[in-house]
Amino acid sequence: MQGTQPDIRMPPPPPGLSQVKREAERAKLSEIDRSMRVAGLLFVLSAVVWLMVGTVFALIASYKMHNPEYLAQFEWLTFGRVRSAHLNTMIFGWGNNAIFCVALWLMARLSRSQVRHGGFLVLAGILWNMGVTIGVTGILSGEMTSVEWLEMPMEVAPILALSYAMIGVWGIVTFSHRQTGHVYVSQWYILAAIFWFPWLYTVAQVMILFVPARGVVQPITNWWFAHNVLGLWLTPVSLASAYYLIPKVLGRPVYSYYLSVIGFWALALFYNWAGIHHLIGGPIPIWLQSAGTVASVMMTIPVIVVAINHHMTVIGSFGTVWQSPTLRFVVFGAMSYTAVSLIGSAMALREVNVVTHFTHFTVGHAHHGVYAFFTMIMFGSIYFILPRLIRRNWPSAGLISIHFWSCALGITGYVVALSIGGWIQGLEMNNAEIPFMTVVRNTVPWLTARTIFGILITVGHSAFFIHLVWMLLPERFRRVPSSYDSFGADPIA
């Protein structure tokens, strides 16, 4: 593959804008980028370090699933703990740090408003990462709660809540200082996400851990929370980023304003009811399960609407998409969003759920969402944002290619392997003629395949990590002169 030049086709300058005005605009944007420089860099670096740590946990957990004797003498690394440490590092370490950078930067750019008192953000970021460190250590050392997506010991919750508040408020303050009349679709998504996440987190912490609700109200709250972390936190920020970057890099407006409006409200309305589909067949009232199924099916509306909107924006420019590292990741992510959401809606139907529930199919599906969609979009966003924050270009097109291909192929293989393996597992489990041990044995080849694809993904992450470190090294270590527009891109636009 050739032509991995970053974003060579920036949008043309708005027609009719005089040279002077254009210069003023550039100066303004560059000011905004500067105001986020330290905090943004801190978030990106923390995110990528957590990504690497989480990858190591993932490999250990994955390997243990087909070789249970591996590292079995270490209680800290027993399967239940290491897979939870993996999940929590990835969501709260990698995911949230990436979101903090991407969401705040987008908000500042779109509001044409600087991030005031960035030092405060840096402090909050340090606090957040301390919280995650304590939490993950707690999981490994045996203070795990075994509540899915909330495994960190509950003492960590106040630290995370406080630092989150300090970060989230910044998004709102930045927005309230906006210099633009029109509020773009990305801003709606970010505002909503900033507001939804703490609500979900607080309710879940309180109702499950601090003052536990009675009986099955706990799992109901649990899945309302866990599914919505994906739906109302990771998803809106990813969509916000896609809505910004696709038109930005292609230099053309989003296809339809009205589709964006419908997509946003349909997501807001339906997604947050859908989580109950994780409890289909369980000891909860039937009408709750039906609500989860109906909402999951209704999710096809926002998904298809967003898919059409993005597709119509991109159509005819696939060549550019391919050449822009940012868009390659973002479009991969956007396409995965469509696929994973439609599969998810199908999985909420009772006839399908009876096969997929309780199997590795669901694990594959979760990675389809959090990785192929969310993480890929975050990669693309970081490729776009970081050069603008620190005024340096990515030194190597080759490393970006390795990153993209390893991750794209790796996650595709991962999802396919677990989907097939999980489906077979489900069918066999529902047939009581087949002894349970046979069901278990038949999953092993697929679990082994998962590890292999996981190694491929690890190669991609390592390339990304090395690239990032390289980019931050002093100029003499970088092959490419550090002028940020050495590829012809305007880093500020």
Binding site: W188, L200, A213, G281, I284, P285, T362
Partner: protein, 218 residues
């Protein structure tokens, strides 16, 4: 979009709506379920003198549940039996009836689970009631279930030289097993392993509730 109040109200009500509909309502609906007898008298009250279900955990089983929680058994084992005809929970012998909300009211932390890498454990205490079996299995699943992918929890056991006489609670492992301790040594469960097994044995859905009777075999 220019109409910010609409945006903010929409954002707020979207989540408030689902929170009310899913969580608050189920809290109101299920939050004060009480233990009861298998059948009710004419007035719909528990029958006087009959045992009340579900039971609360005994002290040692509670400690065992803590081990279950901090080891993360829930990531491979569910504790919920689905209705007969939906999946094969009943046919596999995982339980004689579907579990319902009332079964979980005394669980300070509900371990419903969403994975069945291993079998459902809601009723494991009736199915597998031998302490020795569980001890062997936890120490090294390959002893009881060759080919299992369940991790060994050997660190919950102590391998030590036999003293003046063998410990009464030593795990019996066949001599020819590759997992047997060297001669003159024995495998003894730590208090955590003892508690965990007590918890596993306490997992029983061997009672009926007014709203859920045992399913019929056919």
């Amino acid at each position: 979009m220019k109409n910010l109040p609409t945006l903010f109200l929409g954002i707020f009500f979207a989540l408030a709506f689902s929170w009310t509909g899913l969580i608050l309502s189920s809290h109101l609906f299920l939050g004060d379920l009480k233990s009861t007898t298998a059948t009710l008298d004419e007035q719909g009250n528990p029958v006087e003198g009959d045992p009340l279900y579900p039971l609360k955990l005994s002290g040692i089983a509670r400690e065992g549940k803590q081990v279950y929680i901090d080891q993360g058994c829930v990531y491979c084992h569910s504790q919920q039996i689905r209705t007969k005809g939906y999946g094969a929970d009943f046919e596999r012998g995982w339980g004689e009836r579907q579990t319902v909300a009332r079964d979980y009211i005394y669980q300070e932390r509900v371990m419903l689970g969403t994975m069945r890498t291993g079998p459902d454990l809601a009723n494991v205490g009736t199915r597998l009631s031998s302490v020795q079996w569980h001890m062997q299995h936890l120490y090294e699943p390959q002893i009881t279930s060759p080919g299992s992918i369940m991790p060994p929890y050997s660190y919950l056991f102590e391998v030590r030289e036999i003293g003046s006489r063998p410990s009464p609670n030593a795990v019996s492992i066949p001599f020819d097993s590759p997992y047997a301790p060297p001669e003159g040594w024995e495998v003894v469960p730590t208090p955590r392993a003892e508690a965990l097994v007590a918890y596993l044995l306490s997992l029983r859905v061997d009672y009926e509730l007014p709203e859920m009777k045992f399913s019929e075999d056919d």
